[in-house]
Structures are given as C-alpha cells and as structure tokens.
Symmetry: C2
Subunit: 358 residues, 2 copies
C-alpha cells in the first residue's frame, strides 16, 4: 500500500511512524523537506505533484495550505482522502462558519466583512470579539482580540475577515473523530486543552463530555468525511460550541499515541487506505505538553526522559520562538496524577517562563 | 544522537520505529538490506564497519551473528552497548551454559562434547534430551530431540554440541529486563510463551512470577549489561530454569509495544544512549501472535486490522516457510479476553493449520 502525504511537517512524520507498522510505504510532497520528508520512502517537490499522485494508491494531507492543484489532481484520480470538500471549506474561515451554522452546529455569533475597519466596528458591537482573517490563519496567527473597539498590535491584512463574538468559556476542549469509507465512525474520548497565546500548551484526557462525540459524529457524517478529524470546542457552561475543525490529524490528539489501543495517526492511515476504523480504548489517563520555541538539546532530552511514563517526540525542527518543536506524552494511573506530571514537565521545559518561548 | 545498529532485521526496524521519537538518527550495517535498512538514515555494507562505527555515538546489535571485527572495533572505540562480553558468551552455547552454571543460575542438566555420536550417547543417558550445536542456532535450528537414543531427521553438523536434559516444564515464559550505565535495572512483567516447532507462536502478559525478575536482575548485573535483554525460562512446577538469554531486544517482548508506558525497544535505545531506564507500567493485559511463513497480503492485512485492540507489525520481508514475517499486537481488559482474541487472530492467520507455515 502506497500512501502519499501532502505536506512534510510533524503531523506527516507521526503518520509515517505509526503507519509503517502496517507495512505501508509513505511518499511525501512539499515545497521543502520537513520532518516527514526525512523518514519517507520518497520525497517530491510540489512541481512533480502529478508523478507523486500517480505513484500513490491514496493521497492525504497533513496541512491545509497545500497547493490546490495537487489536491485537485488527487481528487480527479479518486485518490484524495478526506475529499476536496472538507479542505475547501476549511481553507476559508467564512465558509467553515457558514457550513457549521447552516448545518445547525452551535458556534459563536459572527459576521463576515471584506474590510478591516468595518470588522473593527462589528467587533465593537459584540463588545468583546476576535477578528480573524478568512485565509491562512493557524496557531493564533492572523487574529486580533478587540475589546470595546480597542486592540493592540498591527491591523490585519486580508481579503476577508470573520468577526467572532468572544465566548466566555469555562474551558477549551477537543475530540479526535474518525470515519471510514463505509461510514463507520469512531471517536476518541475528549480531552481538556490549555491554550496559551493561541497555541496548545498542554492537554489531558479523558474529559467527561458525551455531547462532543455526538456533535463530531454528525459533523464527519455530514461532510462524508474519510479519515481522522480534530474538532476544537468552547464549553460555555451549558453547550459545547465548535471553535473550529481541522480536516486532518491534529495536535489535540497527540495524547492518543500513548495509553490507547490505537492512535489518531494509525486510525487516519486505516481510514485513508480504505480499511475500517476501530473503536479506540483508552487504557489510562493520558496527556501531552507541547515543546514550543525551546531547543530540544541533549540536556532537555535527558531531563524529560528521566520521568516515568513519559515519552518524548522530537520533530527535529530548527528552533524559533513560537514554533512547535516537539511534544511530551505522559500517562498516569489517575487524572490528578497526570495533571501533576504535566506541571512537572512544563516546569522542566519552561522553568516558569513560557512567555519567553511561545 | 547517532545510534548504529549491527544487523538490519525486524528487531532493528522496531528499534528505529521506537527510537525516532526521541529525535535520534539511526544507521544500519549489514550484509544485505533488511527491514531496518529501508527506514534507517543510512546503510553501510559490512566492509565499511570502521566508517560506520566512527559515524555513530553508540553502537548496538539486533542479531548475535554479526561480524566479530565490527563488534570488536565498536568496543575498542568504547561505543558498543551492550558490551562484547555478553555477545561472546552468547555466540557459543557452551559458554552461555557454563556462565549460567558457574554463577549459580538454575538451568537444565547438560554436558558438552565435540563429537555428534558421543552427544547421542550422552543424550541416551538423560533419556529425553536435546542436542544443540554450540554455534549459530536459533528458532529451533541446529537442534535435535533425542528420546532413549533415538532421533528423527539428519545428524547435526558442528564443532561442539551441548546435550541438554529435556525439562518436563509446565510452561515456557520470558521476561525483558533492562539495565542502564548507572546500574539501574527495570524489568517488564513476565509473559507466558507458547512455542511451536521451536518458534514463538503467541505470548501473553502479565504472568505472575516474581522469581523471574529477581533472576533477570541478577543476570544483567552480573554481566554489567547495558540495554534490554530477553530471558527465556522453563517452569518445572517449582523453579524457573533459564533456557537461554538474548543480549538484545527479543521476540518475547514485542507485546510491550502496546499497553505499556514504554516498549522494550524504547528502553533499549534509552540505555544504549546513556540515559536512564524507566520502570515500565503495564496498562492492560497485552500479547502477540507471530505471523510465520504466511504472506501478509492485502486480504490478511484487512482481516487482521478489522479487530479492535489489534495492531499489525508487517516487517516487509519475503515470505518463506518458517520465517517470521510480522506479528500482531493485541490487548484486552482481561487476560481471559486477551487469550480469546489471540485464538481468534491465530485462526485468521493459520486457519487451524499452523503446521503448513511453521
């Protein structure tokens, strides 16, 4: 079985690490050679997308902003999974919002405008709001928090803006959910997410919340989705509002690499290759700490790997402030014990000063 | 961190799959390109062993029968882990027996001779015995079962023979045990092994047996061992007799890939690279079924991966009767449930006729 991955980042890297078990071959296409390219069976530059698609039995993606001509060609060859629909919706935030609203999913109030000044006026009406560019935003980029019409930082550049009313959430959470070509759906237990400066800092699972699996199941079925999807939620004290979804494996599901009968990555590879998804079983409370903006040198590696029930994933990327360079998987017998281990690992990585790295 | 692996078989392949998480680089040396060579950062033919060793920070092995000059050169550069002692003892069965006996470990009665006819006479004295060639035997090769002086099959060729009294065991079992350069020892829970025609067919863990960890701990400490070791036992109803040990990761520990806080492979990579071993926690009953002599085609892959709590490891080797081509990891909430899943998976692979494949 030959799988093609559009994009060569760490998500592709983990898809390969997990998917190799099945004896699959992995080929990667990207503009430059990221972590996945270094362990793939072959690497193709973007210009060779036809050759790449022709070589693969199925093609998936690990990043939304991949060249549309490669996606379209893979779709035309009936090899793209998930299909073009979900990524087209996702590549434009206004389409995602509209899709979710039209299909009856609960989301924050929002408006759409093509003018930044108008976006600020709309935000002022919401009182507390976020302006997001409709395209190319992730990990807190292309976003601006506006309170009573005031904001700090540069104005956003873009063709279209989504103005979202700020949700006074009790917490943020996510689920990973998978669907196969026969329409079977398998949901991982939800996880609690702690986001910091627009990026996930740590997560832990399980989180009691039946509603999220039910919402996710409706969403992947509505999209006729094939593969694993990440869905982020705000819990406002009553409902789980969808913040956004990612039509791919997702940082919110890295904890499934440890303490589960199957990972989000293995599940995605199964679905993409036309096999059935499996109901995951969580063996033990499980979570992660992201390593952001902090070089994973020999000393840090030693300090992290000296902890029981702790596995390091080092993506091998060049350090840069705000960049995700790896993560640490952690388990424990209890959720309280897990939280305590997470705090300890955060202290080892950030020494009480995450603001220096995020 | 650059790790060198002598040998390119499936054990090396799994060392790389597990060790890549830490951001390590893996280089492989072998006569031909096995599974590990296909996913390594680089491959060296045996003739280039000096260049290979010079490139690596540490060198380990995944197979006993690697060229001794490569082992010796790595040892001379202070890079070989585990050290030369344990592999020298292991490469000659008579030395292994003598070492175990001299150090007070319980083993089956045995004698050593350099003449096959004499070996048969000695075996006749034991009544029920096994003759083994002293070198190059594994997976039941180079062995002959002799009952009252009679045997079927060809006489064994060799320079030296070990004649072992047959142990009327209640069951066979094994442990994986690891030791780091500081002398810390971490043992995985023992597993029950079902061997068939000299090869492991399935295993399940945990097995209650404190004695084995204690014996293993004495053995790795006595050898000043660094890395993960596999030790096979016979339980005769009273004692655990050491059948043999392997100074490397081992088929008897593949179940640690699923349902554990750390695998035998990750543990080995930690120890070899000078880091501390961790106390493994077993989350749930866990076992494997070996896929021997049976092509892992698309149909078998689908049939195996359709089972909950089941992960396939396909080594990508060419099928041949008696050859290990892959294994299936299986977990369950209970040991009874696990045994039932194991039977189901065996039925899928062998359809009630393992003798056609082993």
């Amino acid at each position: 079985m030959r799988i093609g991955i559009l994009g060569s980042g760490q998500l592709g890297w983990m898809l390969i690490l997990e998917g190799r078990k099945f004896g699959y071959e992995f080929n990667v296409l990207d503009e430059s050679r990221g972590p996945a390219a270094r362990i793939a069976d072959s690497f193709y530059p973007v210009s060779e997308f036809r050759k790449f698609v022709d070589k693969c039995d199925y093609v998936t993606f690990e990043f939304e902003n991949v060249p549309v001509e490669a996606l379209e060609y893979a779709q035309s060859q009936d090899k793209l999974r998930p299909g073009l629909d979900s990524i087209v919706i996702k590549k434009r935030r206004s389409l995602e919002k509209k899709f979710l609203k039209d299909n009856g999913f609960k989301i924050a109030d929002y408006t759409i405008t093509d003018n930044f000044e108008d976006a600020v006026d709309q935000a002022a009406k919401f009182g507390n709001a976020i302006i997001k560019t409709s395209e190319s935003g992730y990990d807190g980029k292309g976003q601006l928090h506006v309170v009573d019409g005031n904001y700090s930082g540069d104005k956003l550049e873009g063709q279209e803006f989504v103005v979202e009313k700020f949700v006074k959430f009790q917490y943020e959470s996510s689920i990973m959910i998978s669907r196969d070509i026969e329409g079977n759906v398998a949901s991982f237990p939800p996880s609690f997410n702690f986001n910091y400066m627009g990026k996930l800092r740590h997560s832990n699972s399980p989180l009691e919340a039946g509603q999220m699996s039910e919402i996710g199941s409706r969403l992947v079925s509505r999209l006729n989705y094939v593969g694993t999807m990440g869905i982020e939620f705000f819990f406002d004290g009553r409902d789980y509002l969808i913040n956004e979804f990612a039509p791919r494996v997702h940082n919110g599901g890295h904890h499934t690499l440890m303490g589960f009968s199957i990972s989000q990555f293995a599940q995605h590879v199964l679905a993409v290759s036309g096999r059935n998804v499996l109901q995951p079983r969580q063996f033990t409370p499980s979570g992660i700490v992201n390593i952001v903006g902090r070089e994973i040198d020999d000393q840090l590696t030693t300090a992290l790997l000296a902890n029981e029930e702790t596995i390091l994933y080092n993506y091998g990327k060049t350090p840069r402030k705000g960049r995700k360079l790896g993560h640490v998987n952690i388990t424990d017998k209890t959720i309280e014990g897990l939280r305590s281990r997470i705090s300890k690992v955060e202290e080892i990585i950030y020494k009480g000063k995450p603001e220096l790295y995020f």
